[in-house]
Amino acid sequence: MKVLDRRKMIWVNGVLLALLALSIVGCALLGPVRLDLSQAVQNIFSANPDAEIFFRARLPRVLLGVAIGGGMAACGVVLQALLGNPLACPQMLGVSGGASLGGILGLIFFPHWLPPIAGGLLGEISWVPFAAFLGALLSMMLVYRFSLFHGRLHPYHLLLCGVIFNSFIAAIIMFLNSIVDFYQAQGLLFWLMGSLSSRAYLTVAFIWAYVIFGFLWLWSKGLSLNLITLGEEAAMQLGVETGALQRQVFVASSLMIGAMVSVSGMIGFIGLMIPHVMRLITGSDHRLLLPASFLAGGIFLCWADTLARILLAPAELPVGIITAFFGGPFFLFLLYREGRRKLAL
């Protein structure tokens, strides 16, 4: 019987979790400087260059990559379900563009971290993720509203709206970039390019908190997400308060996207690719698809970022290049296949 049961849940998630753990350790060991795991974990507290590189330089970056890869994949899953469109993802819906704009406005107008009271310990916590969250939420609602015709969501309109919205946002960002002073422009560009370059553990923990919170929230809606893939009306008739579900999914995924974009800029295609691959493996039941995609997205970005670090070492590629390199052709393949099956588009 091909129905989701507890055994399948445990097996799939268990295997992925084990792979993720291996990937985290493995990726943190790989790099221009070869590390030896036993060396690194032996004298952690004495001066030990291996441990220094492993724990200070690489591990936080790898952990950040896992959170962002997982978060992007999870957001892709839920947006696809909600919009009934297998081609939806944060980039294509203009959401990450909105998040970038929000973040940039945050950088320009509230460049300072939290007021000094919280200063010392929470030094790394800034308004930028919050501004990016607002940007993501607003753009998601805008694009959604403009794609509704007579109460029905047209997939074609939705993608078109998202793409146009993204270009529009890009223009605004360029405009902002040209009116701020040189010093600020440098900061904006650096932020926009985005990368997973080394971060303090505190930042990493902060992003993980956003992502995990959003993910658990979405996961708790797994069953309703299954139902809403049948369409809004059918979901209502099966007992889902669809309006509330939409609002919650928009808020939860905007929280995640805002936080992710605020540290890593736009890393594309994960939200499109991973859910598709995982659907082939786990089936479409969101109670399993969602955690499985989260774990797989984490694994994927973990390795993509490692590739970005070592391909041209000691120089570094932006990780977005690696994900786009896989993602672009994959999207074309999907479009071709979906077109032939006369599905959503």
Partner: protein, 260 residues
């Protein structure tokens, strides 16, 4: 006992286009009623209001309680709806689709339990679709798909079944199968059935009560021989027909008289 469905002066308009005018309708528990009428006469809208997907002006009562006082979850245990055609953009198996009918009974955080699986299997057995359990919905034929969708509706264990032109995309054999199934469910399980129908002959054969809509109003409401007369058809559909009694069933059947 309160009627299963009761509407009083129900009206509805999409923006400036009125679709239903003062529809007052009562369906008793255990009744089997077919809603007829040409395209745009308000059949689908009426069903959508009854299932609380749309809200009209006027009163709608289910089992004597105003529909607005029900939560969606509560409603989905009372009502199940079968739509014209199921569109699913994601690969789900027939079993997964039928189990979705159980979502209203178990915790949103839980997986389906043994009882849910049993009920899903029994509903699929009843609609002759159990052999499709592991098949993907998008691979099924129209008839198979519709049987799976009816199985899902039954898995909700509803008291009332609403169907919107359930046989619209089916060939003759599958149309008859669906109607026979509905009649069996009505007789054996006492399921209240309200269906929008477009095939007048099949409606006359299988549904003891017919409700004819015209421009959003109830034009006739009664037994097939009361509703399907040469005059009503000409009035409502604007075509000339001859109606004769089928000697086997005693029901009226239509013969179309094209202009020569």
């Amino acid at each position: 006992m309160n009627p299963a469905i009761q509407t009083r002066n129900l009206s509805f308009a999409y923006k400036d286009r009125a679709v239903l005018h003062a529809v007052s309708l009562s369906v008793k528990s255990g009744e089997m009623a077919g809603v007829l009428g040409p395209n745009g006469s308000g059949k689908t809208t009426l069903l959508k209001i009854l299932s609380a997907v749309l809200r009209g002006q006027g009163e709608v009562e289910l089992n004597g309680k105003n529909v607005a006082t029900y939560g969606r979850r509560e409603l989905s245990r009372l009502f199940a709806v079968v739509q014209q055609e199921a569109r699913v953009n994601f690969p789900y198996t027939a079993a997964e689709i039928v189990l979705m009918g159980r979502a209203t009974y178990h915790s949103p955080l839980a997986l389906e339990g043994k009882k849910d699986l049993e009920i899903a299997r029994a509903s699929m057995d009843l609609t002759d679709s159990l052999s499709l359990w592991n098949r993907y919905l998008h691979e099924l034929s129209g008839g198979e798909k519709q049987r799976v969708m009816i199985a899902r509706a039954l898995a909700q264990e509803p008291a009332i079944l609403l169907l919107d032109e359930p046989s619209a995309f089916l060939d003759l054999k599958h149309q008859v199968q669906v109607f026979e199934l509905l009649r069996r469910l009505n007789r054996e399980r006492g399921l209240t059935i309200v269906a929008a129908l477009h095939d007048l002959n099949l409606a006359a054969l299988f549904f003891p009560r017919l409700i004819m809509l015209r421009d959003g109003k109830i034009y006739r409401d009664g037994s097939p021989s009361e509703v399907l007369t040469e005059n009503t058809i000409e009035e409502v559909y604007g075509i000339r027909v001859r109606i004769e009694q089928d000697p086997a069933s005693g029901k009226p059947q239509l013969f179309i008289c094209p202009a020569l």
